[in-house]
């Protein structure tokens, strides 16, 4: 290990590289965490492992791209008054407003899907529900693919590929953006859980029937869980579309649809029902991935090309061997 570190140090200097890697890990971790929270909320609220998250996330990113690129809105008879002028990069506030709009649309998509496909399945086995979401994913795929097929969908990131220089390391603004987004999401979710709806959702997660008996509108809780879940994975997808992340400022047909699967180890590591778990799991997994990519690069021929992609799964396997319910998941009490 030592000579690898030394090798890295030789070229760009140890510290800037380390810092850069760390920031990248944190940024990627933020995105994983936000998407992980999206999974967790849906799971907590409705006991569904949402395999459709990939499709929903990409749809969310596409909504964003449509809002910031096209004045006309699909399926709606009016145009988006907040859209930036065609051909120009929007200002940051305008972009953010459009971001909120895109998230609202994504949330509506999530709610509609829940109402159509999940609500009728209440009480069915976990895996039937999971396969339902797989069906949704399959059905969403072609729409997403079709929408991106004519041209790459730009996300019109106001800060593009700009970066700050800090202690010799280049820190892309997008990375910071992702971290800020994650912090905001985490804080607002925490606030949400303190609100009435949040308490209701926790009650539903604990015991649906008891919650219903207490007068909680379980249907609405389901709806909100899916809305929130969809918006959160969309946030992750939009921020992952930026700058030095692989899609390079676009909604990518190659990368976005599989993004959600990369989050699975995160939620398993954090525990399916733990929001802080998703946060820590995201940061841990992403750091493992990024640091392995950076510092084990010399050993690619031994580890195989693209080894860093499977680092999350290996970390997950090791953790689960020790703790079968993840690091933060609540252990299921097994009754006969």
């Amino acid at each position: 290990m030592i000579d690898v570190l030394l090798l890295a140090q030789e070229s760009t200097g140890f510290f800037p590289t380390f810092l850069q890697t760390l920031i990248k890990g944190l940024a990627l971790g933020s995105i994983y965490a936000v998407m992980g929270i999206g999974f967790v909320i849906v799971f907590k609220g409705t006991q569904v492992l949402n395999f459709a998250a990939g499709g929903i996330a990409m749809a969310g990113a596409l909504f964003m791209s449509i809002l910031v690129n096209d004045a006309g809105l699909p399926f709606l008879p009016f145009s988006n008054p907040l859209a930036p002028e065609i051909g120009t990069t929007p200002s940051i506030p305008r972009w953010l407003i459009n971001l909120v709009l895109a998230l609202i649309i994504a949330a509506i998509l999530g709610m509609v899907l829940e109402r159509i496909a999940i609500r009728p399945m209440i009480g069915q086995p976990l895996f039937s529900m999971a396969v339902i979401t797989l069906g949704i994913e399959t059905a969403l795929g072609p729409f997403n693919r079709d929408a991106t097929s004519l041209t790459a969908r730009s996300l019109q990131i106001p800060w593009g590929l700009e970066q700050w220089e800090f202690l010799g390391a280049g820190i892309p603004k997008s990375y910071v953006g992702a971290m800020v987004a994650a912090v905001l999401c985490f804080l607002s979710i925490n606030l949400f859980f303190r609100s009435r709806f949040g308490v209701a959702m926790r009650a539903v997660a604990f015991d649906q029937e008891a919650a219903q008996a207490q007068g909680i509108n379980v249907g609405r809780v389901f709806s909100i869980a899916w809305g929130l879940g969809a918006a959160l994975v969309a946030v992750g997808a939009i921020f992952y579309g930026m700058g030095p992340f692989p899609p390079q400022g676009t909604v990518s047909q190659e990368i976005h649809p599989v993004l959600a699967f990369r989050v699975l180890p995160v939620i398993i590591l954090g525990g399916l029902d733990s929001i802080p778990g998703a946060l820590y799991g995201g940061l841990l997994i992403a750091s493992a991935e990024v640091f392995a990519g950076q510092y084990l690069a010399q050993w690619t021929s031994v580890l195989g090309a693209g080894y860093s992609t499977i680092v999350p799964y290996i970390v997950m396997l090791i953790v689960l061997l020790v703790r079968p319910y993840g690091l933060f998941g609540s252990e299921e009490i097994r009754r006969v």
Binding site: S11, I86, T151, A152, F245, P246, G249, V290
Partner: protein
Amino acid sequence: MKFKRLLALFMALGLVASACGSSETDDGAAGESESSATTEATAEEETTTTAAPAEAEEPAAEIATDFGVTDDTIKVGLNADLSGPFASLVAEIVEGQTVYWEVVNANGGIAGRQVEMVVLDSGYATDKGIENYLTLAAESDEGVAMISENTGSPITAAIAEDAKDDDILVIPLSWASLWADPDIGPNILEKGTNYCIESMNGISFLADLVTENGDTPKLAILSRPGEYGADGFAGAALAAELLDIEVVYAAEGEVAGDDRTAVVTQLVNSGANIVWTTLTPGETADIFGNAVAQGFEAQWSGNQPSFNYLAHLGGDLAESFDQYWWQSGYTVPWNGNDSEGMQDLVAAFTELRPDNNLSDVYAIGWMEGLMVQTVLEQAAANGDMTRAGIVAASQEVTVDFKGLGPNQSWAGSYNDSVVRESYMFDADATAFDIQPVSSGTGSTGLFIEKGPFVSEIVADYVFDGPCI
């Protein structure tokens, strides 16, 4: 950056009535025949019409046929990826071929027969592709005379042996040099310049560029796993050896997975000033973008599929690409020259698909059409339009692409027939402007920098089989 035509769902920027893949060519063609009988179209189709009228009047019975050819139609099959990862690209290629046949059919077809396309979707899945092949190659009414496009090396490799057994002509949509393998047989008709030669030409070009600037070329080669990556890498490695260039980083098949940190790190640390990629557009963008962001400066180029003007010139990296990227290729970009072929193509699209956006890849489909027409006409002239007859005919012809790309024949040894020319394009982000065909303006942002040219190392090299 215009995104007018995207998901504008009810603007219904629909397409002109086009033939339905399997059964409606006649209707479509009939509908178009009057309007398309314009002067340009007929005038350009000189080669077609010289052969066709004579054949058309004769009773077709004199031509031997087996499957896919009747007295009035010729069925041509396409095993295309229309729902998989390459759907957007392939859809436009198929569109190119569709328009080509509309024009040909309007002018009387081939040997008095209308050409009917049977399009099946493989989704780039091998099993589906094999199934499609079996349908197309069926020795029944469902079968086709030949397969004018078979998307992807994996599927082509999977069906190659069957195709040889069935003696059916297949034009793969894949530029790997694999098809030179004598085991695979003459019926897999390699089309255009293969990745191996493209790499050699491209690296020669980049090396010259660096040398002109007074630097010593230091090469980094990035390739993805799979035979596409392997073929491109083999050519690049060969070029480095022949040109005596130092390879400072060789990531052979190492660009895999979604995290490319390792590759970027090593690339940036290698100190290369030439980078050759055999990647997908997404991989290219990620590595290129991250490397550039880390201050890495080099002359970049790569095999044609590495680059996608829509993704690369339409995204945030446009300026960097403009600055560092040279695109390699073997077909002329939209309106890239004023050759006869390009004029035909543009005219036909302006006439038949005015609402379509301009695209570089229509030319590929168009060229497929030219190939098929040439081969079929030869077969008709030979009086043998059986599948075997078509395969035989393919060995006798030289296809004139009329300036859309280097001409090609399959006669003689592989070394004799292999296409050695390729182009280098300059990427111009400012010129990038995708417009509907009918507007007559707009550009994909690619302009011919050099070519068609054959680098010295390619010209002298003896190819006796696949590079890999």
